[in-house]
Symmetry: C2
Subunit: 410 residues, 2 copies
């Protein structure tokens, strides 16, 4: 009998490494705010803070609530929404899918967790490129899997280094999937069709399920053209992740989609297990599902909202990029999608041990909250969310420059 | 290199056993409905289908939406809602808690999954009584843990058999927690305070974290008095799970609470790891959090709604219990909380292999969908959700009786 418990005995191993880098300094922010400070938060990619969720979507949500749509929905999602998602993928990417190919999740984060949970046994591997979205690796490790890391190459505008990755895959580990995020968080890169083809080829060669997180698909600019994985992945099993958070500026709705269009035996098994697994958490938010269905189906309203938002995001990103590239202490590749900047810090000129120290001191000294690049797997970088209005971004970048000068080696 | 994948290679082991018994026959229901049949669904405990979510809560939800509360909230939940939950527990159970003791989750199901994930390593055990809520065991197994099963004893009105369980705990396995669900799904039992004290004592003796799922706490009747675990668990770490789904008739909102009031080192670690883990899925539904905060804080409106609903549930439960106990083929203990009936089938008189066959044939032949008892860990029983109006329940029980007569051995 144990009458006393020690903490290390009680907690699981997995609980020790699981935290999102984006939120790890929230406690510092809260205590600063408690003492009256205003913190400029450039850490969280939340468009709904700056771009109102379109009124027609809010109205559809309200209508569903007032009509009593407050019960559980089908664990795999409302059929009306699954129909809408299927139609959306057909319209945008000529994908032929069925509502049975689609599972509605509580945000893409749940879709990532569910996907890992049905694929990954202890000691299996998932393949991902760094910098990666900070949830990918913890969700894989949560299922006791390990990451095999390829690289996006900054010199070539954050293009994926396929040959470099191929060499690492020869090790013969139990590899389950390859995940890409396109348009990319944090780099803002948008993959060329030819590159996506190579990635699909790689997945085929190694028998990997290909997962494409396309949550920013309609937020592209600066001449980029987005290609969905469904346009190039022929004859291999793949999963598309998407949702309402970014393109519909509705992060707080918590609605994501997992789409598995294949009819090969692997795709069928994945669908079947995602369906089974989804019963464990009963359903997504029912009235939010009605709202997002309307968000998709009212193409006219959506087109107006998303193009207005994307134009404005492009303006903010381009301005902020220019200001950053005028700095002596950092440099960024110009993004072509999503709403993040991922500048490299000139650490030789700065008196910091690492980007973690940079993040925490910047927060404490200048009340600017960004996220360390090492949280995305790449040292000596920072991620800046560039959604705030121009004057906020300009002032924040000023403060970062002042901070760098103060901690400069010269 | 693998150019072909076989299904067993691709899927994780955990994905094979994870499905909720409540939903496992959904595909049959869908195909019956497609062919024009009306299915009486008594499988899902969803009060919002029968009892409208109170209008004042729906209005608060609408207001939050119209005011633009559609962004992410804090991963641990909106402070307004955590304040409200803290006040609620103080008012109902004199629990002294702080907002830092509370995490808002996407339904209690997410709270169960998070709790398992921070506590359970592979080969660790969780202790639960059967019949158990069908999500408890898969969530534990999902984290590669094993269940140690105690029993609720039907003969004594589904009271927990503490001495029986104590014998099983002597085996010396790595035991992490003991979970109880009070009021109970599926039995409808409400634990006496003295019994809860014994359970707290047991948890203390074996160094187990005590988890109490109190989602039905305000839905008690037939003279029952509900005791929260916080009223008896002194000096041991414990977690209370609760949420908006049942008491506020708002299942489709997906809002749950995990409350960890202790200030001992184990409770502090649990809180800290729940907070960290919560960052991985960003947040719960923000406008729903505002709605549930109002649901709790407007005590007057809540009191009216919950007492009206509970009175009606008691009437439906008592009527359905009477009808079931008039049957020659089944018998139920009279519930005192929640809204389920868990009758024992007289299998000696029936030509069925098991309750799984009973469930599927009843669905196909009489279009009545109930859940097999074995899904809750107890053979030869069925769970009936008794939320539907009297005439629906009466007709369904008639059909079950007709079905039993048809498949009777005599």
């Amino acid at each position: 009998m144990r009458s006393m418990m020690c903490m290390d005995e009680v907690l699981s191993l997995r609980s020790r490494y699981v935290i999102s880098a984006i939120h790890e300094d929230d406690a510092i922010v809260k205590s600063m705010e408690k003492s009256g400070k205003t913190v400029v938060k450039l850490n969280l990619g939340d468009p709904a803070v700056y771009f109102q969720t379109p009124q027609y979507i809010v109205n559809a949500f309200t209508k569903a609530l007032q009509q009593g749509m407050t019960h559980y929905s089908d664990p795999v999602g409302l059929s009306r929404l699954r129909h809408a998602v299927s139609e959306r993928q057909r319209r945008l990417y000529r994908l032929d899918s069925d509502i049975d190919d689609i599972i509605i999740t509580q945000g893409v984060s749940e879709a990532i967790m569910l996907t890992n949970s049905i694929l990954v046994n202890p000691r299996d591997s998932g393949v991902l490129f760094r910098p990666y979205y900070p949830q990918y690796l913890p969700s894989l490790e949560f299922c006791m899997g390990k990451g095999i890391l390829g690289d996006y190459d900054e010199e070539s505008g954050w293009s994926a280094d396929i040959e470099g990755l191929r060499k690492r895959l020869r090790a013969g580990k139990r590899m389950k999937y390859l995940i890409v995020n396109n348009p990319n968080n944090p780099t803002g890169s948008v993959m060329e069709r030819s590159l996506l083809r190579e990635i699909a080829e790689l997945a085929k060669d190694y028998g990997l399920v290909l997962i494409s997180d396309e949550i920013y698909d309609e937020i592209v600019y600066n001449g980029a053209h987005f290609t969905s994985i469904s346009e190039v992945a022929k004859g291999i099993p793949y999963i598309i992740l998407n949702g309402a958070s970014k393109v519909f500026s509705a992060t707080g709705f918590r609605i994501g989609f997992a789409i598995v269009p294949g009819s090969d035996s692997v795709s069928l098994s994945i669908k079947s297990r995602l369906r089974a697994m989804s019963t464990l958490r009963l359903s997504a938010s029912t009235p939010a599902e009605y709202a997002v269905a309307e968000g998709i189906l009212n193409e006219h309203e959506h087109e107006i909202s998303v193009s207005r938002m994307t134009t404005e995001i492009a303006r903010r990103i381009n301005n902020a990029s220019r200001l950053i590239n005028e700095s002596e202490y950092m440099h960024t590749v110009l993004p072509r999608g999503a709403f993040y900047l991922f500048p490299k810090l000139d650490m030789k000129r700065l008196k910091f041990e690492n980007d973690r120290e940079f993040e925490q001191k910047l927060l404490k000294e200048e009340a600017v909250h960004i996220t360390r690049g090492s949280g995305f797997g790449i040292a000596d970088h920072i991620r800046i969310v560039a959604l705030a209005p121009e004057y906020v971004m300009a002032s924040a970048i000023d403060r970062i420059n002042r901070f760098c000068r103060k901690h400069s080696k010269r």
